[in-house]
Symmetry: C2
DNA sequence: ATCGACTTTGTAATCGATTACATCTTTTGA
DNA sequence: TCAAAAGATGTAATCGATTACAAAGTCGAT
């Protein structure tokens, strides 16, 4: 049993540096903050003392006094989803530039864990919040908004118009996905859903329905399989699809993971993609480029999304919001690739097959 | 331009609660910490006041006074790699149980960014460090060890025997990978490397060489392609492989991403896997289960790794280390799946092909 | 030499909790 | 019944920085 004491060497405080330099703590603080006037000579002497002593300011003390932590909390639904890793990169780039750090709050797909991070915010450990989890109306759990901190929603929010949001155009893209399938001749579609109660899912499904309406298709022209934003949801949907008597020919999955799960499962069952069935995913994860055939999907501007979200939060924290900042909606890009092709009957008609 | 002031409502301090309850701040503190004796009545009154006022303690002040933040820094080489998301889950589970929080330091594959997190540690914002990045000898950049905090290395470290480590048996597994290929009749192997200077990579390559030696194979029996832990490295290696005159028949990639990149590229070139070439990956990421054929790989005990690493750090912080805690080496599991099969010549000889 | 304006530096209050110690109250036991 | 012990509560110091304000120093103009 070893009982080594950490930092047994006495900590160096600003007072120690001051003594070493023969000045007051106020002067040391001014030198280090580069604020207030100091003669070149004093500057030199203080810096020398700082280096000799190896002093690093205690930010806990600083944070207490300044009432700021220069840290932003980013609440992420599920870190294992590569989409968020990309967004985080954009956020980090932007925040770092302004001298802010970030703390990641991973919910691991379990909304209850949000409470933990509400506490973090309430206890003054962060200056602002980037929220990537949506909430459904009527949800009265403890809320990030309760912390009374500057906050930006980076996912579709229902209600709460007083929170600025920076989102991608989920609805428009889903609508375009349907259009893409319809243009290829598909008249019977399948929808692989995300988690129930998820706001992003709600947006994507709404867009899907709008797309159907655009094409003059009704309820009888599609099947919806419940799921989540994971591979296995696509597998389950595909199994259900395979058992169906009147199979759709065009599938829209609300995320790439489930699209790939679907793809692999129908292929394993002997179906050809896109000859027998076309599949469109959503997100544009790197892996979608490594399936066979490559997945047709909508590419999210992830890095940009992260940057913009952070930029708005920074403005909010500095009280520099303009009316244009309250809502930002970024477009997605259709990557029309290998998993979508003409519908079987359309191909027959045009003599391709 | 809106200039809303955040928290314009006066903050509630412990003194406010004390006044409301008609007791001293010491008593409020004792009630909230559940430490020291208080009568049931006082407890009631204080709790009532806490709830009425909606008080949440300011942890910055608490951290200053107690000289602890109950937070651990986890330095991760690259968050986009799903391997780390899994490990983080294990870490989070373990730390949360002991009342600790975690801050993720993402290096984004750029070792220079470590300095940022060294600062975080030096400025007393965390109580301990879990380090998942390795260092090569002779590297004299500013070092996490400089912070003088309790630290556990969760990757192969060279030297620095005073830092406890919790790692997977990279070397043994790589050795077993070669054995697996050799048993299938492969006599000429290819090695898709990870980043130069990476300690984990070094371990895996060392194991690869050991495996060759076990089989009585020498330098002339393998090709090594430099790479990184990303898809594109596998693609590049495969392109090089395709151009070679005397192609290896068994490939070992030091991570699943590059293995999959390799797989897709040789398949695109018309080769059959595993008939023409066998591939073994490393890590056991979820996606390795979704390739066609499914990737043969070594499964890392990621969640366990995270848990064990955290458990050791907790002991270290509490001064409860036993000699067994200084080094933990977890075994990997071979998932012998679709991408490995008998070597072409072996198949001919045994009349399979 | 004196005054005012400006620059530089120091003194001490402050941020909001925890906690050692002192004080007061209650209980225990002879 | 009273001293001693145990229990409950309060007072004030403390953690280590920042910063308002005061004080001292510098300089040029009169």
């Amino acid at each position: 049993m070893s009982r080594k004491r950490w930092r047994s060497v006495k900590e160096i405080r600003i007072a120690d540096v001051a003594r070493l330099a023969g000045v007051s703590t106020a002067t040391v603080s001014r030198v280090l903050a580069n604020r207030g006037a100091v003669t070149a000579k004093t500057y030199e002497v203080v810096m020398e003392a700082v280096h000799r002593s190896g002093y690093t300011p205690n930010s806990v003390a600083r944070n207490l006094r300044t009432r700021r932590t220069m840290t932003v909390l980013v609440v992420v639904p599920n870190l294992a989803n590569p989409v968020f890793a990309q967004i985080l990169r954009g956020i980090d780039d932007e925040l770092t530039q302004s001298g802010y750090g970030l703390v990641i709050g991973n919910l691991d797909n379990c909304l209850e864990r949000e409470a933990r991070y509400v506490d973090l915010a309430l206890s003054r450990q962060v200056d602002g919040i980037l929220l990537m989890t949506g909430r459904v109306p009527g949800d009265d759990k403890r809320h990030m908004g309760d912390a009374g901190l500057p906050m930006v929603a980076m996912c579709a929010t229902i209600g709460d118009s007083r929170i600025p949001n920076v989102v991608v155009q989920d609805r428009e893209a889903s609508r375009a996905a349907v259009q893409h399938l319809v243009e290829l001749g598909h008249r019977r579609l399948g929808y692989v859903a995300g988690p129930i109660g998820n706001v992003i899912e709600a947006e994507r499904f709404a867009g899907f329905l709008e797309g159907l309406e655009d094409a003059g298709l009704g309820k009888q022209n599609f099947v919806r399989w419940e799921g989540r934003f994971v591979f296995s949801a696509g597998v389950a949907a595909a199994e259900s699809f395979l058992r169906a008597k009147n199979r759709p020919t065009g599938i829209f999955a609300s995320c790439d993971e489930s699209a790939i799960g679907f793809l692999k499962t129908v292929q394993a069952a002997g179906l050809r993609v896109p000859d027998d069935v076309s599949i469109v995913g959503f997100d544009g994860i790197e892996f979608a480029d490594y399936t066979e055939p490559t997945l047709t999907t909508f590419q999210q501007p992830l890095h940009l999304l992260g940057q913009r979200g952070s930029a708005v939060l920074l403005k909010l924290m500095r009280g520099e919001m303009t009316s244009a900042d309250w809502s930002t909606r970024l477009p997605l890009t259709l990557l029309a690739r290998g998993t979508t092709g003409k519908a079987p009957h359309a191909r027959r008609r045009s003599g391709v097959a």
